[in-house]
């Protein structure tokens, strides 16, 4: 009879599996934010090609900034990741978790992401001020602001339909802080999606739509979407998001640096981790451009590499993001753990 024999085989298989051992590994484990993922993936891909003869291996996960820090600060070394990507600085709670597990980290900015405000190509609007954005998105606007004209008399008289990322996203967090003034303070009656492509679809098909998303999603869809120039205050000149304006710091307050955090002990003791991070930083500008992010200036990359070389541990932040921060200044700040 075929069936008992098959069952027997499966039982043997199951027992063997349960007793399988772990091989000594030289895998560099990367995890973290989905915003940083494309750059980390590019680094992992090219690193493995460049070090083919050494058979060095890199895995990249995508658990989000918070999920990444959780795996980064884990007490059990076999489950810990060596590098985590973050679209915001490490929070005080996460710092405490790392401290409790005895983990010291190196904070390295690797590129810029710019939150881009988009409308349909058929919308005549060209620019918008932060005040107007606040009027549209603040919690008090919920169930009240339904027309462009309610926001600003100069705007067209048509219905206002809103699209944006879901509340777990780093883009949501940064946008609310930069536009509304308080983290995660937003109206709730908008079309929210964890997938930014939904915002692209929605706004491109909706004449009266307005949405915000990461710069890469705009850059890949310039044929369907129009980005609005942003003026940081009424009367100040409005600036369009572009590689130039983000790099020279004039696209404020909607651009932010994104980071990788590296386990200092792993970087010090495991040559493959150190090798990978150096490779990452040396090529970060090219990778960032390729996946449509904005690179840092070359001098800043040199400084980041130097900071990593000295294993300069700690964060330059106070446990939350800062609006309109300059990377050059960030890299020279006192750090603390």
């Amino acid at each position: 009879m075929i069936f008992p024999r098959m069952a027997f085989l499966l039982c043997v298989c199951a027992m063997g599996l349960a007793s399988a051992g772990v091989r000594a590994q030289s895998v560099v484990r990367v995890d973290g934010s989905s915003t940083v993922f494309p750059i980390s993936e590019a680094a992992a891909e090219d690193f493995q090609i460049a070090r083919r003869e050494k058979r060095l291996r890199v895995t990249v996960g995508m658990s989000g900034t918070g999920g990444g820090f959780k795996k980064f600060c884990m007490a059990d070394a076999s489950l810990r990741v060596d590098v985590t990507g973050a679209s915001r600085p490490i929070s005080t709670g996460e710092m405490a978790a790392c401290r409790a597990a005895g983990i010291r980290f190196i904070e390295l900015p690797i590129a810029f992401d710019a939150v881009t405000i988009v409308v349909s190509k058929r919308n005549p609007l060209e620019s918008i001020s932060i005040e107007d954005l606040k009027k549209i998105w603040e919690p008090a606007a919920q169930a009240k602001i339904f027309n462009w004209r309610q926001v600003n008399p100069a705007f067209p008289d048509r219905a206002l339909k809103l699209y944006g990322p879901g509340t777990d996203s780093g883009t949501f967090e940064y946008f609310t802080e930069a536009a509304v003034g308080r983290v995660k303070a937003s109206r709730g009656d908008y079309t929210a999606s964890e997938d930014d492509n939904v915002v692209v679809q929605g706004v491109s098909r909706d004449n009266s739509g307005l949405g915000y998303l990461g710069y890469a999603y705009y850059a890949e869809n310039t044929d369907k979407l129009k980005a609005l120039a942003i003026s940081p205050a009424v009367g100040k000149p409005a600036v369009l998001p572009s590689e130039q304006s983000v790099m020279d710091g004039s696209y404020v307050p909607m651009s932010r640096p994104i980071f990788i955090y590296v386990n200092a002990e792993a970087a010090g003791k495991r040559p493959e981790v150190r090798d990978f991070v150096e490779f990452y930083l040396k090529h970060a500008g090219a990778f960032a451009r390729e996946v449509k992010y904005v690179p840092l200036r070359d001098v800043d990359y040199a400084q980041v590499l130097e900071n990593f070389g000295r294993l300069r541990t700690g964060t330059a932040f106070e446990g939350h993001s800062e609006i309109g921060v300059k990377v050059a200044e960030l890299l020279k700040r006192e750090v603390k753990e």
Binding site: A7, L17, V27, D31, E45, T59, A216
Partner: protein
């Protein structure tokens, strides 16, 4: 007197036949909702992804360049995870089903177990993910590995396997058991030589339904720690330096097809959306499993005569 009666009866018959026709059409419409949705999905997937399907696509690792990206790591991961799932879920599920039908005394404890098993079949998959994370990753220290993923999915489909096993066993006529016992067979002999072989066709169907559910799961695997980018395969037993053990592949990091597909469709670069052709491979794998089940069932049924 007779003529009008016949007319009335004919009218009734016509009316009833109209209802018959109406219900038939309604039934076909209902069927079409499901079938057409599937066809539309498949055609959409085919038209956007068919050009990407090639040997290269199946044999290369993921890449940030859409044209070079492949699903080697993902489909190998899916196959290995399914292998582990089958190795645990089938023996455990079938044994549990056999116990509940043939051995378990009919008392309140058995009733509670039965109710629980049925309820477990409806628990959302993410809950199994959390269970797998807590139990296999943190408590047993199995790591974020193929083994953990396979075990988690085995738990997920276990209730389905148990329930279907019991249904299949119940379909065996009572006289078979009685004949077996009358010849002096023990319960174990009856189970081994009669119950399991005769119900194996039904059990297989259930196993395949469970596996088809498991192969499409994403959420619990992300929770237990599947990675998204991986560009190497688990070690083949007895190869490499130092030689890998027979089951060392089970402790490696992994990704699976649905995760890879989700990652590609969420990308800004539209060129990646065509790579969701991976979905075609996933569908092909499911169809392949179903075909295998049907073939096995046919073979097994041929041997049963009662």
């Amino acid at each position: 007197m007779q003529e009008p009666d016949l007319l009335a009866i004919r009218a009734i018959i016509t009316r009833h036949k109209r209802w018959d026709l109406f219900f038939g059409v309604l039934g076909i419409c209902c069927l079409m909702v499901g079938v057409l949705t599937l066809v539309a999905l498949f055609v959409d997937m085919w038209s956007s992804g068919a050009e990407r399907l090639s040997l290269d696509f199946l044999s290369s690792f993921p890449s940030r360049r859409a044209g070079q990206a492949g699903i080697l790591a993902a489909w190998v991961g899916s196959v290995l995870v399914m292998l582990v799932t089958a190795s645990f879920a089938i023996p455990l599920g079938v044994a549990a089903g056999v116990y509940l039908e043939e051995y378990a005394p009919k008392n309140w404890l058995t009733d509670i177990i039965e109710i629980n098993v049925s309820n477990l079949a409806g628990v959302p998959s993410i809950v199994y993910g959390l269970l797998g994370l807590g139990m296999f990753v943190y408590t047993f220290g199995l790591g974020r590995s193929i083994l953990t993923a396979g075990l988690t999915l085995a738990l997920l489909i276990l209730p389905v396997v148990i329930v279907v096993t019991r249904e299949a066993i119940r379909a065996i006529p009572q006289m078979i058991r009685e004949a077996s016992y009358a010849c002096g067979a023990t319960t174990w002999q009856t189970v081994r030589d009669h119950i399991v072989p005769y119900s194996s066709a039904g059990i297989l169907t259930g196993v395949i339904i469970g596996m088809a559910r498991a192969i499409g799961e994403t959420a619990p695997l992300i929770v237990v720690g599947a990675v998204t980018f991986i560009a190497y395969l688990p070690p083949v037993p007895f190869t490499g330096e130092p030689a890998a053990g027979l089951f060392d592949w089970a402790r490696e990091a992994f990704t699976v097809l649905p995760i890879q597909m989700f990652n590609w469709t969420a990308r800004p670069d539209a060129a990646f959306h065509a790579n969701a052709a991976a979905g075609l491979v996933l569908v092909a794998m499911t169809v392949g499993m179903n075909a295998l089940a049907i073939w096995l069932r046919y073979r097994l049924r041929k041997n049963i005569k009662w």
